[in-house]
């Protein structure tokens, strides 16, 4: 998986640049709708996405994780509370925080290469340097042979890698990923875990990764944020002290990983039980899904 990096091109060194960026959310609230129809999605939620760590957020489906990403990315504003990037409040979207959405957002009318070059071109930086970066990234994500293909012609895993490259060329300070590997088959999913972890370990920039998959969360995370059910807030934080780089096999057989997994499952189970007593259908489904994985 690791591309051999022998020659040091300028593109390569800049891709390895490291920056320190921390995102802090403090007592944030967010509702959709107004008046009697208002639906509270985020309630008194605080957490830190620490600099140069891979923070994974796990929570039941529908608890408000994508909503939190909309807030962090600056596409929507909080009702109250504050989210800051390196101390300054987030008000707008920006290329310092790039999001990989749940569904592929590659532009269908652009080839892989044009998709990757979108950011630099949109900012009027269609330079030799940007083109070199694109070449480097195409190679890195293994899509050199697919540079002139449209997204529709790529497999699900390739699309996700193309999207990673499209984000990485903008050298974001924080990379935000919303369940990026959902819908991939198990085989590609595990390959993508190792692949993505490899990319992260190369530069160790701040990454924020959202998932509902416990195995994915434990394999990837430096820090794990466990969220409550809707309206969401941070339930607890676990440091995943398994050394890097990790292999799937190691993690599967690791006693420490299994210990963490039990702990996470207990917490998520409690969350589900809470809203289960409230009679929520979503909670029942959730409970069902997680109790299967516990075996």
């Amino acid at each position: 998986m690791n591309t051999s990096l022998t020659e040091e091109s300028p593109a390569l060194t800049s891709a390895r640049e490291q920056n320190t960026s921390e995102i802090v959310a403090k007592n944030i609230y967010k509702s959709y709708g107004a008046g009697p129809f208002a639906k509270e999605v985020v309630s008194d939620c605080s957490f830190t996405i620490e600099s140069n760590k891979l923070t994974v957020m796990i929570g039941p489906s529908g608890c408000g994780k994508s909503t939190l990403i909309q807030l962090i990315a600056g596409f929507e504003a909080t009702d109250s509370g504050e989210i800051t990037l390196n101390g300054s409040p987030i008000t707008d979207p920006g290329k310092d925080r790039l999001v990989l959405f749940q569904e592929s957002a590659l532009f269908p009318w652009m080839t892989t290469y044009d998709n990757i070059m979108y950011g630099p071109r949109a900012r009027g930086e269609d330079t030799k340097d940007a083109a070199d970066q694109a070449e480097f990234l195409l190679n890195k994500v293994g899509l050199d042979a697919f540079r002139d293909k449209y997204p529709q012609q790529l497999s699900g895993g390739m699309q996700r890698r193309a999207e990673l490259a499209r984000a990485m060329i903008n050298k974001p300070e924080v990379m935000i990923l919303d369940e990026p590997f959902r819908g991939l088959d198990n085989m590609s999913k595990e390959l993508m875990w190792e692949y993505y972890a490899g990319l992260y370990e190369e530069d160790r920039n701040t990454n924020f990764f959202v998932t509902t998959d416990i195995d994915e969360a434990i394999f990837l995370a430096d820090r794990l944020l466990i969220m409550t059910n809707l309206p969401t807030s941070t339930r607890s934080v676990i440091e995943i002290d398994i050394p890097r780089p990790r292999t799937i096999e190691e993690v599967v057989n690791s006693a420490r990983a299994n210990e963490i997994k039990k702990e996470v499952m207990t917490l998520l189970h409690e969350e589900a039980m809470k809203s289960f007593s409230g009679g929520s259908k979503a909670a029942a489904d959730f409970l069902d899904a997680y109790s299967k994985r516990a075996d």
């Binding site: 596409f75 979207p93 950011g119």
Partner: protein, 274 residues
């Protein structure tokens, strides 16, 4: 290589089937049309229609007649004149309504009240309003394509995946860049579909308008277009020519649609990869 051969085979088979079907159709038509001579009994419907051989003879006589080609030319001119005007006004209007809420709120209700009025209902009014017959036909033709194009463009531009816009925005794209490189290409497939449907309606409208208005400014005859050609053949009692006119319109409509399909395919190459 073998895959291509296989495709060729299917294609030629399909083409062959088409030709066989047309030949059988022509034979049945010929026999039906000559049923009175052949069997002493006139088949219902087909017995009243001139046989294809007579139609061909009549057509052969028209091939060298400049006024027949003038009819083609006039109808094409009206169709494309109205159609291009509808695109030039309809596409920007649809896009603008999609991106500007205020304009949408102001204009869309009017649009929705005018839209259900069939273009042909505009014929008398447009003959009164426009100074020349030619302009009134052009206007009605324009209306035929206009509403369809606007509705398709508007629908296409409004249903853009929100995450395309968010992705572009967070990569630092300006509003203009987002419009040009996201909104426009995302709407292109709807523009192509709207245009293809609009083109079909344009031919329907132009033929009817030519019949009703008596063939435009030249007062019929050579400047009348294919619709008027059919009408005058009917008035003149030449049933073969009626059918020549009908088939001519079929061919003209097909050629126009094919032209649009080709242009549409060139504009949206990513759709072909599906």
């Amino acid at each position: 290589m073998s895959l291509k051969k296989f495709a060729d085979k299917i294609f030629s088979r399909a083409a062959l089937r088409g030709i066989v079907a047309i030949v059988i159709f022509l034979i049945i038509w010929e026999i039906g049309a000559r049923s009175e001579q052949l069997f002493g009994y006139r088949f219902p419907f087909l017995g009243l229609v001139p046989p294809p051989s007579d139609v061909l003879v009549s057509w052969a006589g028209l091939i060298g007649d400049p006024s027949y080609w003038q009819s083609w030319y006039m109808s094409f001119l009206r169709v494309f004149g109205g159609f291009i005007a509808a695109m030039l006004i309809g596409i920007p209007l649809g896009l603008f309504m999609a991106v500007n809420k205020t304009f949408y709120g102001m204009y869309f209700p009017t649009f929705e009240i005018l839209r259900p009025i069939p273009p042909l209902a505009w014929v008398p009014a447009s003959i009164i309003f426009w100074p020349t017959q030619e302009l009134s036909i052009a206007f009605v033709t324009f209306l035929g394509a206009f509403y369809t194009i606007v509705i398709n463009v508007l629908g296409g531009a409004r249903s853009i995946n929100k995450q395309f816009l968010q992705a572009a925005q967070s990569m630092g794209a300006s509003q203009w860049d987002i419009f040009r490189r996201i909104v426009l290409p995302a709407t292109l497939p709807s523009i192509v579909v709207g245009s293809a449907v609009g083109m079909g309606i344009t031919w329907e409208v132009v033929v009817a308008a030519e019949m009703i208005s008596g063939g435009g400014s030249s007062g019929g005859g050579a400047g009348g277009g294919l619709g008027f050609f059919i009408w005058s053949s009917y008035v003149g009692g030449s049933y073969e020519q009626i059918i020549v006119g009908m088939i001519s319109i079929g061919i003209a409509g097909y050629l126009s649609s094919e032209l649009l399909r080709q242009a549409g395919g060139l504009l949206t190459p990513w759709l072909k990869t599906r």
